[in-house]
Symmetry: C2
Subunit: 212 residues, 2 copies
């Protein structure tokens, strides 16, 4: 891994451009013009557009980790961590950490029907994030903070849906009320009520079995 300043500047600019225009819309000529350098000078750092895209995806993952995952490390594993992760996730979209909204929601939509290393990288990173969430759902169930019988994959599926709806509400709908809706929906899924007993006593969304 090189640590050159120029290289880092290229990748940083690439992340910003890709979050708005897409990873395919990130062209070498445009990026070179943005940074005041020649196309070949820029390409020399990476070798190919695909290699650049992969570095941009990795850099976006590092930003996501710093701006979302790392903000929750102070909380206890299980339900507190899960809530903190989701709160940080909403905040990350509210703060517009990437100028084009969630980098990975955009990249997932762009590459979900393609094949190749970029798709694999996006799928792998999102899978890691979902795994992290799932772990804390499991811990929450084990601790009795989520109802016994809760399906962790179902919770992660629904949490992802809420965040995609938030990204959509902010970017396409430009609805400033979207974060409040997302928080309200998250509250339904992983609660914010203070007592475990209160949650256990009511019909538990995540635990309810499929309708046959």
């Amino acid at each position: 891994m090189e640590t050159g300043r120029t290289r880092a500047a290229i990748v940083a600019r690439g992340v910003a451009v890709a979050s708005v225009e897409g990873l395919e819309g990130l062209t070498i000529g445009r990026l070179a013009a943005d940074l005041g350098m020649s196309k070949s000078g820029l390409l020399g750092h990476f070798g190919s557009k695909e290699a650049l895209q992969l570095e941009v995806v990795d850099a976006a993952a590092a930003i996501f980790t710093r701006e979302v995952a790392d903000r929750a490390t102070g909380t206890a594993p299980g339900l507190p961590r899960l809530r903190a992760l989701c709160a940080a996730w909403v905040s990350y979209l509210e703060r517009e950490v990437f100028p084009g909204g969630c980098f990975f929601i955009a990249a997932a939509a762009e590459f979900d029907d393609r094949a190749g290393p970029v798709r694999d990288a996006v799928a792998g990173l999102t899978a890691l994030w979902e795994r992290d969430l799932r772990i804390h759902v499991r811990l929450a169930v084990a601790a009795g903070d989520l109802p016994a019988g809760t399906d962790p994959d179902q919770v992660v599926f629904e949490l992802g849906g809420v965040l995609m709806a938030l990204n959509y509400g902010l970017r396409l709908r430009r609805d400033p009320g979207a974060p409040a809706r997302a928080r309200r929906a998250l509250d339904q899924l992983i609660g914010t009520g203070p007592t475990v007993a209160a949650r256990a006593g009511r019909a538990a969304p995540a635990a309810r079995p499929p309708a046959a």
Copy 2:
């Protein structure tokens, strides 16, 4: 509106290509080659790429209406219609009506940070669909089939999230279990239980007020 067969064939092919490669990835040369005609012959039908994109978006909307909205018209307005619309929505993704998943989820993600007529068309059509859903949520509340105090916009927000999670689960995750998860999540939001009384008696997700 022309009704030419060639023109219709171009648009139909354009819808399929755009659902996979994106509306920007739909190029005139590629489309012309697919259909065995010249670029200028193809472009003559529309005048510009943007005009073609707009026709493709409209054609996709017609397909969505036929494959989703129209399949629910036999049900009573209100909760039955809402449930039928959502069931048809899930089915439409399961059946892969578009080869690249939901045309409008993909188009929304692609154009949410751009300006211009294509973005406006996508935003307008999705707003119409959400309005349709909201109407039936309101009717359901008025009929007592959803709890009094239910926020229709909140329900529509969450329904959209479930469908985006389904599209993501099918396309990026390639998870055949995703439709079952979506149905289970929808069941939480708009129920499938047979009796209104049973729903009214339990904690109602859609009606719960924000956590201050």
